[in-house]
């Protein structure tokens, strides 16, 4: 049976984290930086919403503002952390051995596995916007790894592209999940067909407006759908950008 939910942009978890005061060791930046995090699912102090979506546990829509804003070096295990940079420049440092700088369209998959630390920081004056996703892995304590790639919105306009998962040109994920993106500049209609009826599909609108089955979604609105054989998606005539996460239950 098909079930679904809608999360409006304003209904998400909201955290405003400052680099001064009690969170100074967690949030980087000087003299004062502010990190805004909207969480689709329960994370940290926000525990009033959905626990997650299938293998996806965290979906953060984040903005790093101010000199040096970000997360200081901190430890993880197991989670596969993906970042998709929408605007600005993100500097990512990890204990796998990478110092990486990512700009609009760049994205990474950092699998913390048996243990790894990372630092996420905006070293520029302009704000950095990114989407962060955390997936549970299909095995515990995998060797830590880092891969990065680029989504070319112009070359792929009006086409759905798989960024993460088992597809040509995509970054592999140690999990039964995929992340796709559609950037359109005209009305596009498509039927999204999940791998199986047991897979769930989470649709998140980055920009523009999207018609998803019988629901209208505006900027930063999202919906999750379980049990669908196909999902009817339509973008508006204006510029639209959307992410789709498909996951096993």
């Amino acid at each position: 049976m098909k079930t679904s939910f809608v999360i409006r942009a304003v209904a998400r978890g909201y955290n405003k984290l400052r680099s001064t005061g009690p969170l100074a060791s967690y949030i980087s930046g000087h003299p004062e930086a502010v990190l805004i995090r909207h969480s689709s699912f329960n994370f940290g102090p926000y525990q009033a919403g959905h626990a997650g979506f299938g293998r996806l546990r965290v979906y953060g829509d984040e903005v790093f503002s101010g000199p040096g804003c970000g997360y200081n070096m901190h430890r993880h295990h197991n989670f596969i952390i993906c970042a998709f940079v929408l605007q600005g420049e993100l500097t990512h440092i990890n204990t796998v051995g990478n110092i990486d700088q990512l700009t609009s369209g760049d994205y990474y998959v950092f699998s913390a596995g048996s243990g790894g630390k990372h630092c996420e920081v905006n070293l520029k004056n302009d704000d950095m916007h990114a989407i962060y996703m955390w997936f549970l892995p299909d095995q515990l304590l995998l060797p830590p790894s880092y891969r990065r790639n680029h989504f070319d919105a112009l070359a792929n306009r009006n086409q759905l592209v798989t960024l993460v998962g088992n597809a040509d040109g995509a970054l592999r994920l140690s999990q039964d999940a995929t992340v796709s993106r559609l950037s359109s500049d005209t009305a596009v209609a498509l039927d999204y067909v999940p791998r199986s009826a047991s897979h769930g599909v989470y649709v998140f609108v980055l920009e523009g407006e999207v018609h998803c089955d019988d629901v209208d979604l505006a900027r930063r609105d999202s919906c999750g759908i379980w049990g669908a054989e196909r999902i009817n998606l339509g973008t508006g005539p204006q510029e639209t950008d959307l992410m789709i996460v498909e996951t096993a239950p």
Partner: protein, 84 residues
């Protein structure tokens, strides 16, 4: 190890608590049930409270977990040096 011993993952950082292994370095003996871990215990890595852990049924990767060596090291053996 008993099959029904469970594993719990910290939703704040991914830290793993395996009932079979406990956390001897934190004074929690192997075999300690999650329910018997003190309620005021927090994640050693990110300090998330106990209620922000979730039970998982995910297998270990090959070669994991690395168990800490218990007791003295075995004496060097000429035989073991020749085992490929």
């Amino acid at each position: 190890m008993s099959e029904d011993l469970k594993r719990f993952i910290c939703l704040g950082c991914g830290f793993l608590y395996d009932e079979a292994l406990g956390l001897p370095e934190h004074g929690i003996a192997p075999g300690t049930r999650w329910a018997d871990v003190p309620e005021n215990w927090t994640c050693p890595d990110c300090f998330s409270p106990k209620h922000l852990f979730q039970m998982v049924e995910i297998p270990y990767a090959a070669g994991e977990p690395h168990l800490p060596r218990v007791g003295p090291l075995a004496p060097p053996s000429e035989l073991s040096l020749h085992v490929i």
